[in-house]
Subunit: 161 residues, 2 copies
Amino acid sequence: MRMNEGVEWALHSCLNLSWLEPGEAMTAARLAAFYDLPAAYLNKQLQALARAGILTSTPGPRGGFRLARAPERITLLDVVTAIEGATPAFRCEGVLRNGPGGRDDVDYAKLCVVSQSMHRAELAWRKELAGQTLADVKATVERRYPETPARTRSWFTSPRA
Amino acid sequence: MRMNEGVEWALHSCLNLSWLEPGEAMTAARLAAFYDLPAAYLNKQLQALARAGILTSTPGPRGGFRLARAPERITLLDVVTAIEGATPAFRCEGVLRNGPGGRDDVDYAKLCVVSQSMHRAELAWRKELAGQTLADVKATVERRYPETPARTRSWFTSPRA
DNA sequence: GAATGGATACTCGGATACGAGCTGTCCGAGTAAAATGGG
DNA sequence: CCCATTTTACTCGGACAGCTCGTATCCGAGTATCCATTC
């Protein structure tokens, strides 16, 4: 079980966007340069965030991405599901269906006790992610590293290196 | 993010093993036939369970796999980590290291707030899995479907179809 | 009849191909800004 | 000087390869069983 690399990039990029002036957009290329990431691939992830309604994108000069809503209303789960998709990690393929006495007209994903237990664990995972907003993470970073917001903003507003 | 198919197989196979007579072994081929699974591949998963100390394997005629300890002492997390490995799904690659002001001698997996939040969610997931033992699942199945243990045992002890 | 040695068949175990999905890259459609020419 | 029009440059957006890892398979090492042979 392995999570997409893009999730980490997306989270950090959203965090960086939250430190910009409200309404200010930033291009995928510049967001990628901040961490020395492949620009086109990060662009792909940001597109997914835009499709999910987390970011808004504007093309053309002075265009780019910006947060679609306040960080208080963006949970970590929103970002993760935007990148990873909504399909659960443990997909019950219904082995019981192929076993003796298996019926085709039964939804074993719902009835199978094993599936339920695994599903319960994933629910706990999602609940924990949904309980943390981007604003919470942002606040923690600002408390521990007070210079980060100003430093980040100045990096993005400085002329291209 | 996608969990190995083998996890589901391993869980159901452990459950089936728990319904056999204590000390009775069952071959990978027969366990696979129960759900119509590829035998050699299931064997691979069972090997992983044996390496993790969840099952014991004995070669030769009358050999096979059996539970290494009581179902009360086998958690779902044990099975999952045996198959999936212990590496967490969200691996912090330390994008901060490549960012401005990044240091090579800092463990960002520990300091990065994003990484910590994601790690906390995975901890909740593991905790939920660790709280459920194979005996719990077994008891739930026996309560809901009382005929399952006898039926399963008879299937495994019946002559090969 | 009992014991012994060997042959046998069966099981796990790891080494070996195949394929899906993540990773990475490219170029085109569309847009806002800037430049240009005229009034 | 101001405005309309054209040009320009820049951005996202989706379509196209490369590669790692999960999926599937095969054959060999080792062992308990069974059988033939001998005492």
